[in-house]
Amino acid sequence: MARLSDTQTAFGAVTKLAHWLTALTVFGMIGLGLYMADLPLGAAKLELYGLHKSIGVVVLVVTLARFGWRSRQPGPGALPSHVAWEHLLAKATHLALYACLIGLPLTGWIASSAAGFPVSVFGLFTLPNLVGPDPSLQKGAAAIHSWMAWAMMGLIGLHILGALKHHVVDKDETLRRMAPHGAKSASPFL
């Protein structure tokens, strides 16, 4: 039976699931965003933008839920093999990644509102516009959205490099403890 909550030595199933699902979704959204932006105006472009926005709303909600979840648990801390600057860099990277997970949907929502296109979530319901029609705000928000997406790709690269460094060079638990059946200290039933 998988343990749901985090402890001081291990991540629980909820945190792990949220992490990997978010990672997959973010990769998909980056690919989708790059592809759809280059399409000529047409029904396909509209539909892909609609899909991108719908998924973006889900990412925002899940990320906020993750904050709520993580704030109520201790979570595993630094390992003996984590040097002080590595710990600091990791924390800063994680914080920046969270900022992107919130900032990207928000700037997207603002850009869509400013463009006069209310965000419809899978055609089920429509979000209120955050702002009224405003062409220059739309351009600004869209530019920040793009820039933040590129920044996030860099942060993800750094994040992966860090995980691999600890896994391959230090041969410690860092990556394993986030992996589905990872940590040595994990229950054999996980």
């Binding site: 029904a43 006069g116 296109f117 209310p118 055609g123």
Partner: protein, 187 residues
């Protein structure tokens, strides 16, 4: 003599019937207080477009519905929908094709009393190259020399060839479009 006795009243009666007393009133719209809008949807989100420029010839009297007629010409380059991107697309070929069809036309063919003190108009609506008969319920409130008329009608844009091809399924841009008018006029 007899002819004169019959003829004169007949002539007088004929002149009386032909007099303006029984013809429908002619109304002049007040553009600043009138609006012609259309509501569509895009990827599940509604949007409202306004035709900023349209002109109407209105003959209307509740007592002379057979003599009443509404004739509206709409400038198809004048639509604004709250989105610069969409406004740039709407006059183009797949949609309004405004270069080839600069105006749309609505003209009533019959007006009859409708439900709840309102009216029902049979009309011909022409958008792009298509003319179709439509039926539109509307209300008119007359206060002296001022009249306020309201009505709306929902069409399937595909019937008028608006958004065919890749747009025809209605998934990206909905097919139902509700056209609403609010006319204030004086006579």
């Amino acid at each position: 003599m007899i002819a004169f006795r019959i003829g004169a009243p007949l002539l007088a009666g004929g002149l009386f019937l032909a007099s303006p007393v029984w013809a429908a009133d002619s109304w002049t719209t007040v553009p600043s207080d009138s609006a012609l809008t259309f509501q569509g949807s895009q990827m599940g989100a509604d949007f409202t477009g306004h035709f900023q420029s349209f002109s109407s010839d209105i003959l209307f009297s509740p007592d002379d519905l057979p003599g009443s007629k509404v004739d509206v010409t709409i400038d198809m380059m004048s639509a604004t929908t709250g989105s610069a991107d969409r406004d740039a697309q709407i006059p183009q070929g797949p949609w309004f094709a405004a270069e080839d069809h600069p105006t749309a036309h609505f003209v009533t063919t019959a007006i009859a009393p409708g439900a709840d003190g309102g009216y029902l108009a049979q009309a011909e609506l022409t958008i792009r190259e298509v003319t179709k008969p439509v039926e539109i319920p509307f209300t008119v409130a007359i206060d002296g020399a001022k009249a306020v008329a309201d009505g709306s009608l929902t069409i399937d844009r595909v019937d008028y060839h608006v958004g065919l091809g890749e747009w025809e399924s209605g998934d990206a841009v909905g097919r139902d479009v509700t056209i609403t008018f609010h006319i204030e006029a004086t006579k």
